[in-house]
Symmetry: C2
Subunit: 302 residues, 2 copies
C-alpha cells in the first residue's frame, strides 16, 4: 500500500431539476476542494439530477447517458485541471432497455474505470429495480494515482459481502456515493435509528476490513411527483472513518452545499491489520453457504 | 419467528484462579437474573477460569473438560431449576491433543447443543492457536425453547461471514461470549478506538442481518504469569442491541459483577426486514471470491 497521507473531499448538496445548475454546484465545490488541498473527491449518487426513482416513469430513462459521455468528459476535465481523482455517479445507458447505476472514476483527465451498482434496492420511494440492471462487472477495485479504490454505490453499503470482496481484491479505500433519506412521516426515534444504522454498518465494514471508508450522501428535501405522496428528506451526514471505524470527519443533515475535507493516514491500515489480522483467520473452508440464498431446513419443501 | 418479547440477562464479571469461586459468582448472578425475569442468560467466554491464553503452557490443558461434563451438568441444573436457557462457555477436551473453545446451550435441564469457536486468534497475550483447535461444527444455530440461537464466540465477532451464515441458517438472535481487553500500555485514544471498534462491528452485524445481538465480555484486570509482561485489562462493556444496531442495554468497564437485564422485542426483526430486505438482494451469483483467501493480481506468483 502507498502509505502517504491522502487528503480527500466529499461533496454533499441538494439537487434540483436543472442539471446545469447541479453541475455548476458540483464544479464550484470541486474547485473549493482542490484549493483546500484535496487529491481525491467523492461525489454523491446521481449528483446531476433529482432522485428520479421515487416513481416508475419511462421518461426517467431520458436522463441516462453513455460512458464515456458528457458527465465523464466534464469530470475528466476537472480532474485534469486540478490534478484530482474524482469519483462520480451517473445513470448509464448501455443500450436501449439496458441501464445501470454506475460510478465512474476520473484520474487526472482519464477515465480510470467504472463500477456498476451490484445490489439494487426496491422499496416504496426507491424504485431502482425498474431503472437499474444489476451490475455485471463484479466487485473489482479501480487503480488510480491515489490508490486502489473499492468503489461501491449506496445500497451496496448494507452488504458486508461487497466490502469484503473489495478488500480481498486489494482495495485501499472503500467509497460509497449515496442517496438515502428519511420518510417525513416516520417519527424522530425511527429516523435516528435509521441514520445510526447507516453510519454504523459502514463503520463496521471499515473495522472488519481495516480500511478507511468514505460515504457521500445527498441532502435536501425532494418532493414526490405525485403530490399525494410524501417525498424524501435526504439526510446528508456524509462521513469519513478510519480503519478502526473511528469517525474522522462528518457532515450534518444541512441542505447547504458542504465540502467535507479530511486527511487520511494511509499507513494506519497496515498497523491495524498487524494487531487484528482478520484476513489471516477467515474460515474459507466453512464459508460455502455464503453462496446460498438461504439455508433451508427442508430444501425439498422449496 | 416467535414474536414474543424475550427478557435476557448478560453476566459480566472478573475471574480469579479459584474456579469454585467463579462458579459461585455465576450461580448467584444467574439466580438474580431469573428473579429479574430473564428467560435467556448469556455468560462470558471461559467464565470458570482466568484467561489462561496469555501464555503457552501445556499445564493449561488441565483446565479442559468433556462435554457433557461438570460445567454442562452445573449449568443444566441451574437452567432446569429456574426455567432458563443458559449459554455458557468452556474449554472442551475432545481427546488428548484435541481441544476446543466451546459454547454450550442448556435449555431447562438439557444440553440443547454446542458451538465450537471457528475463528481462532493468535496475538501477543492471546495465544489461542496453541490451545484451541478450530471448530468443525460450522455455523449452525441451536434451537431452544426461547428461539433459534446463533451462538458464536469472541474472535468470531470481527467476521461478518460468521454472523451472515448464522442469519442465513435462520438464527433469531446473535450471541457472543467474549474475553477481550486493553493492553495497559496503550494510550487512552487507542483504547477508546478499540472498544468502539468492538461495539461497532457487532452493531454492524445486527444491522446487516436485522437481528438482535448480545455480547457478554469479562471485566477486571488479569496479570500475566510472567511479571515482566503487562497483563490484560478486560474492558467489560457487555451490551445488547436491536436489529437496527440500536443499543438496548450496555454495561461499563467496572470490575464489579454486573447482571445486565434487557427485554428484546422479537417481532422487530421482521418489521425491519420488510423495510430493508437485504436477504432478498444478495448477489449470490457474484460472491464466489468470498471463498478465496485473497484475490491475488498474479496468482502464479503465489
Amino acid at each position: 500500500m502507498n502509505p502517504d497521507p491522502l487528503r480527500v473531499a466529499l461533496i454533499q448538496h441538494p439537487c434540483g431539476a436543472d442539471a446545469a445548475a447541479n453541475r455548476a454546484t458540483t464544479t464550484a465545490a470541486i474547485v473549493t476542494a482542490a484549493e483546500r488541498g484535496a487529491k481525491l473527491v467523492l461525489l454523491q449518487e446521481l449528483h446531476t439530477t433529482p432522485y428520479f426513482c421515487q416513481q416508475e416513469d419511462t421518461a426517467g430513462f431520458d436522463l441516462a447517458e453513455p460512458v464515456p459521455g458528457p458527465t465523464t468528459a466534464w469530470l475528466a476535465e476537472l480532474s485534469r485541471e486540478h490534478g484530482l481523482v474524482i469519483v462520480g455517479s451517473l445513470f448509464e445507458r448501455r443500450d436501449a432497455g439496458l441501464y445501470h447505476n454506475t460510478a465512474v472514476v476520473l484520474d487526472q483527465g482519464h477515465l480510470a474505470g467504472r463500477y456498476r451498482k451490484m445490489h439494487i434496492p426496491d422499496d416504496p420511494g426507491y424504485h431502482e429495480k425498474f431503472y437499474f440492471t444489476p451490475g455485471d462487472l463484479g466487485f473489482t477495485p479501480i487503480d488510480t494515482s491515489r490508490g486502489r479504490l473499492g468503489v461501491l454505490v449506496c445500497w451496496d453499503q448494507w452488504f458486508p459481502e461487497a466490502a469484503r470482496l473489495m478488500s480481498l481484491a486489494g482495495a485501499q479505500l472503500l467509497l460509497y456515493p449515496t442517496a438515502i433519506g428519511w420518510e417525513p412521516g416516520d417519527d424522530d426515534e425511527e429516523k435516528q435509528r435509521q441514520l445510526d444504522a447507516w453510519v454504523t454498518v459502514q463503520r463496521g465494514h471499515a473495522v472488519a476490513n481495516a480500511l478507511p471508508l468514505l460515504a457521500c450522501n445527498r441532502s435536501g428535501f425532494e418532493t414526490h411527483p405525485d403530490a399525494a405522496k410524501e417525498g424524501i428528506d435526504f439526510w446528508g451526514n456524509s462521513f469519513v472513518c478510519g480503519p478502526q471505524g473511528e469517525i474522522l470527519a462528518r457532515a450534518d443533515a444541512s441542505a447547504e452545499t458542504t465540502v467535507l475535507v479530511c486527511e487520511i493516514d494511509m499507513a494506519r491500515s497496515e498497523a491495524v491489520r498487524r494487531i487484528w489480522p482478520f484476513l489471516r483467520d477467515r474460515r474459507i473452508d466453512a464459508y460455502d453457504d455464503l453462496l446460498l440464498r438461504y439455508r433451508d431446513k427442508d430444501p425439498a419443501g422449496e
